[in-house]
Symmetry: D3
Amino acid sequence: MSRIDGRTPQQLRPVTIERGWSKHAEGSVLVSFGDTKVLCTASVTEGVPRWRKGSGEGWVTAEYAMLPRATNTRGDRESVKGRIGGRTHEISRLIGRSLRAVIDYQALGENTIVLDCDVLQADGGTRTAAITGSYVALADAVAWARTKKLIKPSRKPLTGTVAAVSVGIVDGTPLLDLRYEEDVRADTDMNVVCTGDGRFVEVQGTAEAEPFARDELDALLDLATAGCTELAELQRKALDAPLER
Amino acid sequence: MSRIDGRTPQQLRPVTIERGWSKHAEGSVLVSFGDTKVLCTASVTEGVPRWRKGSGEGWVTAEYAMLPRATNTRGDRESVKGRIGGRTHEISRLIGRSLRAVIDYQALGENTIVLDCDVLQADGGTRTAAITGSYVALADAVAWARTKKLIKPSRKPLTGTVAAVSVGIVDGTPLLDLRYEEDVRADTDMNVVCTGDGRFVEVQGTAEAEPFARDELDALLDLATAGCTELAELQRKALDAPLER
Amino acid sequence: MSRIDGRTPQQLRPVTIERGWSKHAEGSVLVSFGDTKVLCTASVTEGVPRWRKGSGEGWVTAEYAMLPRATNTRGDRESVKGRIGGRTHEISRLIGRSLRAVIDYQALGENTIVLDCDVLQADGGTRTAAITGSYVALADAVAWARTKKLIKPSRKPLTGTVAAVSVGIVDGTPLLDLRYEEDVRADTDMNVVCTGDGRFVEVQGTAEAEPFARDELDALLDLATAGCTELAELQRKALDAPLER
Amino acid sequence: MSRIDGRTPQQLRPVTIERGWSKHAEGSVLVSFGDTKVLCTASVTEGVPRWRKGSGEGWVTAEYAMLPRATNTRGDRESVKGRIGGRTHEISRLIGRSLRAVIDYQALGENTIVLDCDVLQADGGTRTAAITGSYVALADAVAWARTKKLIKPSRKPLTGTVAAVSVGIVDGTPLLDLRYEEDVRADTDMNVVCTGDGRFVEVQGTAEAEPFARDELDALLDLATAGCTELAELQRKALDAPLER
Amino acid sequence: MSRIDGRTPQQLRPVTIERGWSKHAEGSVLVSFGDTKVLCTASVTEGVPRWRKGSGEGWVTAEYAMLPRATNTRGDRESVKGRIGGRTHEISRLIGRSLRAVIDYQALGENTIVLDCDVLQADGGTRTAAITGSYVALADAVAWARTKKLIKPSRKPLTGTVAAVSVGIVDGTPLLDLRYEEDVRADTDMNVVCTGDGRFVEVQGTAEAEPFARDELDALLDLATAGCTELAELQRKALDAPLER
Amino acid sequence: MSRIDGRTPQQLRPVTIERGWSKHAEGSVLVSFGDTKVLCTASVTEGVPRWRKGSGEGWVTAEYAMLPRATNTRGDRESVKGRIGGRTHEISRLIGRSLRAVIDYQALGENTIVLDCDVLQADGGTRTAAITGSYVALADAVAWARTKKLIKPSRKPLTGTVAAVSVGIVDGTPLLDLRYEEDVRADTDMNVVCTGDGRFVEVQGTAEAEPFARDELDALLDLATAGCTELAELQRKALDAPLER
């Protein structure tokens, strides 16, 4: 089968991870998976939410949003509507949980890191790009906080790395990293979040048209695991480069 | 391992499905999974949302909510807060998608069925109980609509059955149908929605503490599939009984 | 005149008061006035709202709501609409005031009790059923708080009992405890809240069609007073039975 | 007993009804009951809300609000808070019902009249002043609509007059038309709305401290009926004067 | 050119400034510019918003709103809509900034003064009338606070006076103090806020139809400066009169 | 005087206008004034808001927002807060008015163009950058609509060009195009919007500390007019280049 952009079923789109995009944020990444572009900023503040005060533990959370014209048709702003939609809530929570899976709260100390993931342009896979980019922004923010002595030099708040990718079955073929045109045609759509050592943080599979069988699920998990391994390598390379602030 | 209520790891809690609970709704079920009790009502109205008018196709959607004191500690009402939380949004969307997976929109015709799932008492697994009970309420509502000729007698809007169950890994052991006390101690928590023929509609697994390996995921899927098969049988039995309105 | 369900004008519908309905709440009652069913839970928390701190006095408040399909036609959820309607506000305030009429704040000490009244099924008289059931839930919650030493054993926060009933004039005849079909046809509609010793806590009469004369008002008050006396007796009996938690 | 402003228990405060206060509204009245001042405007528009279209019947509704500094302490604006409080809802609904009690919807035809009652200065009895003033504004608006042929000259939409007054028991004495200082000290507080022919439209009595007995209720109703008769006479006099627009 | 009300282009409408309008507020003014009537109340409270605590400095802010029928057509209440519109926000901010321009925060001490400007009737220039009237209410509130020793007698929180007027170009002629009918026909519309010594606090000019040239801008500024000087004189006279509270 | 970045008082920051930034929008520009970066997208839809239907005239509007970490300290999202702040409202309205000043609604026909201006990074002058960039996005969107025959080839909806710049007095010296550090120190702050032929669309000057005199105002207007002329030239150059979509 030939994909619309000529990729093989097992192939990621071109992925770029541009660190230090923002002059203000403690960590910031403009991540792109093909035409999907997400700006991820990590903001560090001393202190934690009220329910966590005095625990000696930190907190990491995330907010996801789309610019109104990130998509083909303009969507109304959630600020104008006065309420956040279910999809936005769902994705923000997914990103937060994914990043917290590699955080040692004790090592972080009573500091809070907020990840803002704003989709500047969407072409499928915005939540997985957001997780993959946010991890890098988070790593830069943690490094900054250690420099500033907010985190003790002896502590390592990051217990691993985390990346995410979408997979789906289109016309009977399992495909990695769906573009929007593939996504809308998929029978099954799955988002998989893995740690760098190949274990699962989140598996979210949805039958869009037909329910899926166990062997299809297995094939998708294989594809996603391989994709996440590749993304973990790209994250590592990006973080190995020096960061000019 | 002995579970707090003496069940084996593969055992469901006592499940009851009480049809015709409400005198007003076209379909209504009080479902209980142990101490978790959810009132599921199905409301049929002629016509569809604006974006679907003239398509000849129907629509099915769901709203989930908890009574303030369904839980051990009282929660603020979302109506009083003036906004719906992320968790509520997420679960409402999951229930709606799950039910739509077994609906033939053409056969339903331009009718809308809204499932309201209100948790009267919570003890873990409220979303899976809601899906399992809602399917039965939906089936009753569809039958009602055929009687009333809103749906043509020759059409069958339901293409299958759907049920859901939670699974998780507690102290290294995969367990079926977690109670609240088990849920809070689980390392991994997964909700699985299956059709009656054993295929998957939704698979949502989350690492609460440690990321999980592929073999753990496999064990959980096995457990959930068996649980859903058992629930499908209970749904069938409930629907076989005559319904007095 | 013969009423639709065969009652005499002076007759209540069958009333049931099921205590201990919820495993979580400190007091809980499923009350039914015929087909009207309201779940009333009483939640006790130590401490009082900010404006009352340090006064040595407690607080009792109430929230009323209807499940979307409690009525014949589905109503939109107030949480989804993002705002609470006038009717809901009005009834919540009425229930709160009615219960506070029999509370000695000093004896309650700096504790707060919230009554949640959720209408599971509506057939007229939901607010009066809610008040009547809430009183019993409140009594159980107060007893619980004394057991837990939140309230000193020597103090009696309840200064009396309170119950409520609706009355109205239908086709020229004053009727007690209106069902929905009677309520919509009533010229005058009145809700009366009485203490167990026959005094008034609230009297709310509204001319739905024709303004009403003083003698009609007097007849309605007579009817309501007798109804409340009967309800007070039912409350007493319910509370006399042992409560298994 | 001597009242703080020297009135007898049966005496109203000085009442003024200033018609034609606003150059824009079809009817407008600045009503004062002593230091309580309420601006009541009646706005006429052709057409009715959607749920009433094609019925041939009109609609009358009301909105009540207080300026932030109408009271002794500044209150937050409900527009700033983003939600309307329970008290505001309750009073708006009361005013609307009271005015609709004297409206013949068929005679009004498919026109809508909105009464806006804005309290410029509060000293007790704002809702009763609002009802009393609104009736006059409504009468002027109806007259305007007849002049403009929105209402047929042969039809009389007003079937009577309506006025309202507060009564209460202070230190054991029933008093008419309470000022704020009296209101806060009252054991029982009642608002009564009467038609000009002495029948009741609304009776709302609340025990603020002690429950009240039937004879107390009777005494309050006597007092209120007499007060409303006096107010009806003042309304008549105000409407007899020519209105310069 | 002859203006609709016979004024010359350089002439203000009749301006009245009625102090002590409200019995509750620390300062209150009913200001009218022709048929535009705005009630301005100044509320003094000890203490400042959280972000200013401990600074030794006070705060002055303002809220502007229109009654629903202040205008020719009834507008929906912002409290009912649940949100404040852009125009309201913009004007509230303008009034607040204008008054703060003549406040010495140190001299005010940690006190807050809130100006509420409620438009009772609108005929153009409501924001400029609100600023002009608010200054007088603010001066009375400051005087009250000095009497009550909230402000030390040796400190003078007011560093000057402030007034505002609208100007615009209608049919090619620059006009002072536009009525509504003039405002809607204006090509350019400008609001100018000046201190009593003739300097500018705010200049807000907007091309409604055609962009405007520098010489037109200059002519409007001349007109506005003269108008503000006249208003400052009227403010001075109003404040020179004794205030009976 | 030497500015922090070495500019002369009359010098703009480096300005870049990157057209065709988004693959989805009909017009899109990433504009930067030094470190201030704003993404401006223009979305064209057939049809107009309800109040304009059947008029034959089009509509242009704008929405402005900041990403949470566009600034030095993270700001809460307005979507999360559930309401749009006054500053956001004010700027959105300013941008919309500025662009409408150069639109011929008849020539545009019944089409709507929405400009979304999202600040990705802020360093002073975000609203003026947004106006300057939006004009270019609007021009591209108009060109697109003519290609698609939504606008007749014979009609020219753009009657001119529009650009904006900030000016202010810092330490007594009038400066063009303030950076954030200059802005916070400015005594007077002015935003000026000009058409390409040197006339004014908006003049908004605010005394931040001291009121300003007429000669200071004149100096600022001179500076701004020259700055806008320079920006108009940069807009012209950007639009002269071919656009690859």
